[in-house]
């Protein structure tokens, strides 16, 4: 089996495992969906009827096989709350989320790499200290609080940008800035540390010793060497970004999967939450698959 197909098989295994694990954990957890939907003061008869209707009175094995059979045909079940197909609902909302995710990731990468680079070049002087402090603050604040501050400053006080909705570029600005900055706060320090490590390697001293200017040393040699660890980090950052989006979408009242999840939480609509989380897991695993595959392209020496 070639490397690529091996990796794809591995990714499929992980996704399948995640589905199974989430399913089992949800089954084990003491929360009873029928009771949760019916409310605490519902009659036992109603709860029993709901349970039968949802299939949650079946044994774990039967429920699991039923769920996997559905998955195989692209059926993620039906919403507890509205009865509509989870898959079609998710498919309708996914583009809005992917748009936000793509732009946020772009901002994260541009800011994170540039600031990390500047920080590494100015290692331990005031520029580095300043950048590191700001990044620490960004990484330590709840991203939705940063969003609230942006809304307060740019929408409430300055009235420059709309705080809610989606469709226009202006409406995309605040959520993208929030998510991008929050994730850059995590990426930049990691990029810096990678670069610092490479800058300390003997080959850099050799390059300098043979009289190469600092600029080519940095751009042609150091950056290239730091590319692989940075791409790896990106895989991790994407996970946090996707998670953060759920809250940010809700905060900025945008259409998208985050909103579906928020609504589903309110209704205790477990199939909907399960489906949405599965979608994010698939995106996350796919991106990390590409990260793995990109190593060979970045560094041809890596024999895969």
């Amino acid at each position: 089996m070639g490397y690529v197909s091996k990796r794809i098989a591995g990714a499929l295994f992980v996704v399948f495992g995640a589905v199974t694990l989430i399913f089992i954990v949800l089954y084990w957890l003491p929360g009873d969906p029928a009771q949760l939907i019916a409310g605490d003061d519902a009659s036992p008869a109603l709860v029993a009827r709901l349970r039968a209707q949802l299939g949650s009175d079946q044994p774990l094995w039967t429920q699991y096989i039923h769920y996997i059979q559905g998955l195989a045909t692209g059926d993620l079940g039906r919403s507890f709350a509205t009865g509509e197909s989870v898959f079609s609902r998710l498919a309708a909302q996914a583009p809005a989320t992917l748009e936000l995710a793509a732009f946020s990731l772009l901002v994260t990468v541009v800011l994170g790499v540039i600031l990390g680079m500047v920080s590494a070049v100015h290692r331990n002087d005031w520029i580095d200290t300043t950048i590191q402090s700001v990044m620490l603050a960004l990484a330590s604040m709840p991203s939705f609080w940063l969003g609230i501050l942006f809304i307060l400053i740019f929408s409430v006080w300055l009235r420059w940008l709309p705080a809610i909705g989606n469709g226009s570029v202006a409406q995309l600005m605040l959520p993208v800035a929030t998510m991008g900055l929050a994730s850059a706060g995590r990426l930049a320090p990691m990029v810096r540390n990678n670069l610092v490590e490479v800058l300390d390697e003997p080959f850099v001293a050799t390059l300098r010793a043979k009289g190469l200017l600092e600029r080519p040393v940095l751009y042609q040699h150091v950056l290239r060497s730091a590319l692989i660890p940075t791409v790896t980090l990106l895989g991790v950052i994407v996970g946090e970004l996707l998670g953060g989006l759920v809250v940010i979408e809700t905060l900025f009242a945008r259409q998208g999967l985050g909103r579906i999840i928020a609504e589903a939480i309110g209704n205790k609509d477990i199939p909907m939450v399960q489906g949405a989380v599965l979608f994010f897991a698939v995106v996350y695993v796919t991106i990390n698959l590409f990260v793995d595959l990109s190593y060979r392209w970045i560094d041809p020496r890596i024999a895969l």
Binding site: I151, G243, V273, Q274
Partner: protein, 300 residues
């Protein structure tokens, strides 16, 4: 690594006759004051005091509703303003420290226990057991943390135990990985082998000889993850999956303050600032500990 570090040769210079030897100082090199530890420690100490004895610091009780102060801006009486019920925001923040810290600390303890057991077993047993556990961890980590927390919390009743359990479960693979790596690094060291050779049991080897060597990493990790756990707890409260009780809670305050953004900027701003400062202080402390305890981090 068995690299012998050679000390540079320093010739001993005897003081010439007749020259008075300078009196030997107790500490030849003046030590720098470790501000990087002291500052975050102080911040964490304040936080702990707020959590333990909030009544010493808060000017009002969290239940004091002043009808005349509803949504009042910060003033001498209400330093950080008042909320929609006329409660003092600063007092609410002080009283809210307890729940936020409880959730964060509880979650980290849970994840240390669960992740620790997985990591110790995987690292010590090796082979198939290790492989199976690591695959399990890969799978668990293939869902982004926030989403995993959300899906678990949705299925559970929103009480303190469940929120702690949820966050603890989500963070545990991170602990498992670090502990596993550390156990693997130590398990074949001579002192472990020596103990094994005289018939020490697996449990004795693990707990008596290997575990102590993971403690520095554990300490660093615990400190670093308290902040992350706190952020996850806040996020749960913010989206309505947090602890439901009558105690003040930073995340819940923030979500309430969000509804009054246009009329009362202080209501959402200050609870968020409290969370941020708390997380910054634990992160700074964790980094400072790491610089001292983790040999790999020394050179940066």
């Amino acid at each position: 690594m068995n690299v012998q570090v050679q000390r540079p040769f320093v010739p001993v210079v005897e003081a010439p006759e007749g020259v008075a030897r300078p009196r030997r100082l107790k500490r030849p090199v003046p030590r720098r004051i470790p501000f990087d530890v002291i500052l975050p420690s102080l911040m964490v100490a304040v936080l702990l005091l707020w959590a333990l004895v909030p009544s010493w610091f808060a000017p009002f009780a969290p239940t004091d509703m002043d009808q005349t102060a509803i949504l009042q801006a910060p003033s001498a009486r209400h330093l950080l303003g008042a909320d929609h019920l006329g409660r003092d925001v600063f007092s609410l923040i002080v009283y809210g420290a307890r729940q936020s810290l409880l959730v964060a600390a509880g979650a980290v303890v849970i994840s240390l226990l669960i992740g620790g057991i997985f990591g110790l077993i995987g690292g010590y047993a090796g082979g198939v057991v290790d492989l199976a556990l690591m695959r399990l961890i890969d799978i668990w980590m293939s869902v982004p943390n926030v989403l995993l927390v959300i899906i678990l919390a949705t299925a559970l009743r929103p009480n303190l135990h469940n929120v702690i359990l949820t966050i603890g479960l989500v963070l545990s693979p991170h602990f498992a990985r670090v502990l596993r790596a550390q156990v693997i690094a130590v398990r074949h060291r001579p002192f472990v082998e020596a103990s094994r050779s005289i018939g020490a049991s697996h449990l004795r080897l693990l707990f008596r000889h290997i575990l102590p060597h993971t403690l520095p990493q554990v300490l660093v990790m615990v400190t670093l993850y308290v902040g992350g756990a706190m952020l996850l707890g806040t996020l749960l409260s913010f989206i309505g999956l947090g602890v439901v009780n009558d105690r003040p809670d930073w995340g819940y305050l923030l979500s309430q303050g969000r509804s009054y953004l246009t009329v009362a900027w202080w209501f959402a701003t200050f609870p968020g600032l409290a969370i941020t400062l708390a997380v910054i202080s634990t992160n700074l402390l964790g980094e400072a500990l790491r610089r001292r305890l983790d040999p790999r981090a020394q050179l940066r």
